[in-house]
Amino acid sequence: MKELDKITNPFGDDKVIANCGLFGMMSTKGRRFSGQDAILAMANMHDRGNGLGGGFAAYGIYPEYADCYALHVMYESMTGKEQTEHFMRTTFDVVHNEEIPHRDPANSGVAPAPILWRYFVRVPKNVLKEISISRRGLDGGIKKESPRDGIRDDIDDIDDIGRIKEAIEDNREDIEDDYVVKQVMTINTGIADAYVFSSGKNMGVFKGVGYPEDIGNFFCLEEYNGYLWTAHGRFPTNTQAWWGGAHPFSLLDWTVVHNGEISSYGTNRAFLEMHGYYCCMHTDTEVIAYAVDLLARRHHLPMDIVAKVLAPPLWVSIDRMPEPERRLHTALRLTYPALLMNGPFTIIIARQGEMIGLRDRIQLRPLVAGIKDDMLYLSSEEAPIRVVCPDLDETWTVKGGEPIIGRLGGRVITGFEGFRGDSYEELPSTAVRGASGR
């Protein structure tokens, strides 16, 4: 088995430490634009990186293959490519494949590049059927739904959370996603010289060793049109330069760019391992991505609730909240204590149709937001936003623990808006008794 950790983290440190510059921009109307502005913004934050990693994630760039998983793969050898392609033929329907267009590395100011290839694939129909049958066979209690039925309508009758979770997972999209995750993990940990660094639909990650503006130029990102771009410039302190080690980190269509060092890494990782996530790269960013995947995709928590798990309010604030809200936050903190991301961080998480910015709860790393018409900008500094959009409607420093969420077709949500007012009324009673008399 290939140990990615050995490549990413050659000195065997507890985790890979990197401090960085972040940038994200999104049109909430879904207007598509080139990567030129994101490159320009990153060039403005040149000094936040040290040339050992830069990358971009772009959404909406493959409309012609919108229903295919776009796998971006880097190969260190032709053998790795042959083995991977053989593996893909047996596990996927490959609709199209080609080299990822790029300029000559020598003239782009980036490090010598691996072979970069992309595949547009579908999950074969027979695989889907087999998996759903075998899953349903294991689950004696809830046979009435077919995989396509929305399970979420039926959970009133079911008390047991484990069964509900199984039922929710028993639908087509999740089966496909889980299948793709599994194959990606197999390639990444099983095949030497091959690494899948992007695996979502109608989106792609482009990253490598070099300054971000050079990486953007190398990948010809000015020729792509997406409605959402995130970008990252890296200042790693304990890793050797490796193309796969750059950000964004991605799983399916989730991407994470991250600036910070998570002090709670060991706790986070232990909890995620309990839920079947193998943290093979030993980076903080990886645990954030897995945590978001667990909470948002597998536990179906709304994004603003996810943010409250990662960066919860302090108990002194929770104790002052009105009763229903206090109970909600208490439930979150006592159920997901191990997913609190402690220590300094700023993250920009993106997925299809959504971009989320979040800072740690005591604001140890910077995040600035800006709005102009339908555009939402998130950045480590204000200057790069001004570079690409000099006449902003509004700009502000984001508060710790308060997510900024941009959604397609919606307005920008700042803070915690998802659960307000009378939606609390029917909360189940929680028997939390405080020894302190609260």
């Binding site: 065997g12 507890d14 985790k15 401090n19 979420r152 959970i155 959370i161 484990g162 509900i164 979770k165 302190t237 060092e261 002090s263 709670s264 890494y265 060991g266 706790t267 232990a270 909890f271 391992e273 309990m274 839920h275 597998r298 536990h299 179906h300 928590l301 709304p302 609730i305 302090l314 108990w315 909600l328 439930a331 979150l332 006592l334 159920t335 997901y336 204590p337 191990a338 609190l340 402690n342 220590g343 300094p344 005591i362 140890l364 998802g418 659960f419 939606s423 609390y424 029917e426 909360l427 189940p428 929680t430 028997a431 939390v432 008794r433 405080g434 020894a435 302190s436 008399g437 609260r438």
Partner: protein, 499 residues
């Protein structure tokens, strides 16, 4: 029979300093000091001295020095003085040697071989004097996840008990300790927003007002267990075993069963209070499950049920079974845990260190994917705040302190708890001796100790760049081993220093 036992301690009295105030005479409950009227002299029977230092502490002129007796046997690497004396003692009595407190053998203390981390440059340390530092902890079963429907949380949260510091006072029964000592524990737990444990000796009626801060035990003797006992408490704990005497029951001699103790334990006055070695309705894991659910029924599923075991060789597998049997909390007592009375040979030779048991149990529950279903409490020889924070990094939710709390009240670990003569009034039942422990002063000392440790824990957490204890729980990356062998590092799940 002439005793061949030599005195263990020598009493040195500076006659120039002694003012014949007779404090030592009245304070020594072991009858060491006696005043001779005719000679105006205080004489000492050194053979009775247990080295508790009560007289030396209270002597107003500092005239007394109690030190190890200087007599020496011929040196022998195989036969220490302690072994010689134990053989002689048995030859004279034909009885099992009974002792108090925890294992005093020089086994490796793993806490002293674990080092903590701190932040430098790449992430900032946090100053607890300027920023919030959260130690709030919830004890009880946690849900596997939360479900929302139409913006509403629809998951039921199992009963939880919230404590403001991860330090709890360990189980010590009324009978083993005095009424005054137990009152001090309850007052201190209330003031600190934490818990204390009644032990298995029942719960005096006038202490039930502290219910929010009390864990009651349901042990093999079932002393004092009735519906009110169970329902007034915050947590009910099934006691299977104790670190100081795994596999052994308890025996409170009839002399200590006063009218008040008898009423609390619901037994006749002056009779021996016997706790059988096993619980006679638990001969297997499914029996345990039945008792857990019987207690949940009795308390209307409103209280977490804890199960306490001694740390033994296969503790990890047992703990896993306990969680699956329905325990909301599992309490593990290591082999350095104290006792009011235990056979010395058991105390010193049975069980394993809490550090290793905790690491193995946390690891096992994680690998089985059930760590969230129970909180882990650990006990057995926690001496300072560093021990506690290391336990949390190894995976504990909170820590029971017993011996340290007794030391705060005055205990000097003279190991005479079983005799009922405790000169500090902590484990005495004789009202004359017990009264010397002022419950309010003892409360203040306990509160001060826990407050000081809590502040120290916050300092260490902040140094690691962590502002909430939940981010350290099971975070073994913040620990490094020093002076440990490969297998020990593996069991503890930590790297060596410098790695």
């Amino acid at each position: 029979m002439k005793s061949y036992l030599l005195p263990q301690f020598a009493v040195h009295r500076d006659d120039d300093r002694c003012i014949r105030c007779k404090v030592c005479v009245s304070q020594c409950s072991f009858g060491v000091h006696a005043y001779d009227d005719e000679d105006d002299e205080i004489r000492s029977n050194e053979g009775a001295c247990v080295g508790c230092q009560r007289c030396a502490t209270l002597c107003p002129t500092g005239a007394l020095v109690i030190r190890r007796h200087p007599h020496e046997f011929r040196p022998n690497a195989n036969w220490s003085e302690e072994m010689l004396l134990d053989v002689k003692r048995k030859a004279e009595t034909g009885a099992v040697t009974i002792t108090g407190m925890g294992n005093d053998k020089p086994h490796r203390v793993y806490w002293d071989h674990l080092l903590l981390n701190a932040s430098q440059v790449t992430n900032p340390s946090i100053d607890p004097l300027r920023e919030p530092m959260e130690l709030r902890t919830f004890l009880g079963r946690k849900p596997d996840g939360l479900l929302f429907k139409d913006g509403r949380l629809i998951t039921d949260i199992p009963p939880q008990v919230m404590i403001e510091t991860p330090i709890i006072f360990s189980a010590m029964s009324y009978g083993a300790i005095s009424y005054q000592a137990q009152l001090a524990f309850m007052q201190a737990a209330q003031e600190l927003g934490t818990l204390c444990n009644t032990g298995e000796g029942g719960w005096p009626m006038d202490f039930r007002r502290f219910g929010r801060n009390v864990i009651v035990q349901c042990a093999s003797g079932r002393f004092g267990v009735d519906p009110d006992y169970l329902n007034q408490a915050a947590i009910v704990e099934i006691k299977i075993g104790q670190g100081a005497k795994p596999g052994i029951g308890g025996h409170l001699p009839g002399e200590k069963v006063t009218a008040a103790v008898a009423a609390t334990r619901m037994i006749p006055e002056g009779t021996d209070a016997l706790s059988p070695a096993p619980q006679h309705d638990i001969y297997s894991i499914e029996d345990l499950s039945m008792l857990i659910y019987a207690l949940k029924e009795a308390t209307n599923y409103e209280k977490p049920i804890s199960v306490k075991i001694a740390a033994v060789h296969n503790a990890a597998a047992i703990a896993s079974g306990m969680v699956r049997a329905g325990a909301d909390i599992i309490a593990i007592d290591g082999f350095r845990g104290g006792t009011g009375a235990a056979p010395r040979v058991i105390r010193d030779n049975v069980g394993i260190p809490i550090e290793l048991a905790l690491a193995a149990i946390d690891e096992r529950l994680r690998r089985e994917g059930i760590r969230n279903r129970a909180s882990i409490l650990v006990a057995g020889g926690f001496r300072n705040s560093a021990d506690i924070i290391k336990a949390i990094a190894l995976g504990a939710d909170a820590v029971y302190i017993g011996t340290a709390a007794l030391v705060a009240m005055g205990c000097t670990l003279c190991q005479q708890c079983n005799t009922g003569k405790c000169a500090w009034g902590i484990t005495a039942q004789d009202p004359y001796i017990a009264k010397r422990l002022n419950p309010d002063i003892a409360t203040r000392r306990l509160v001060n100790l826990v407050r000081a440790w809590t502040l120290e824990i916050k300092e260490m957490l902040g140094g690691m760049g962590i502002n909430s204890i939940e981010s350290l729980r099971g975070n073994r990356l913040h620990l490094r081993g020093i002076g440990l062998q490969e297998w020990e590092l593996e069991v503890l799940g930590v790297k060596g220093a410098g790695q």
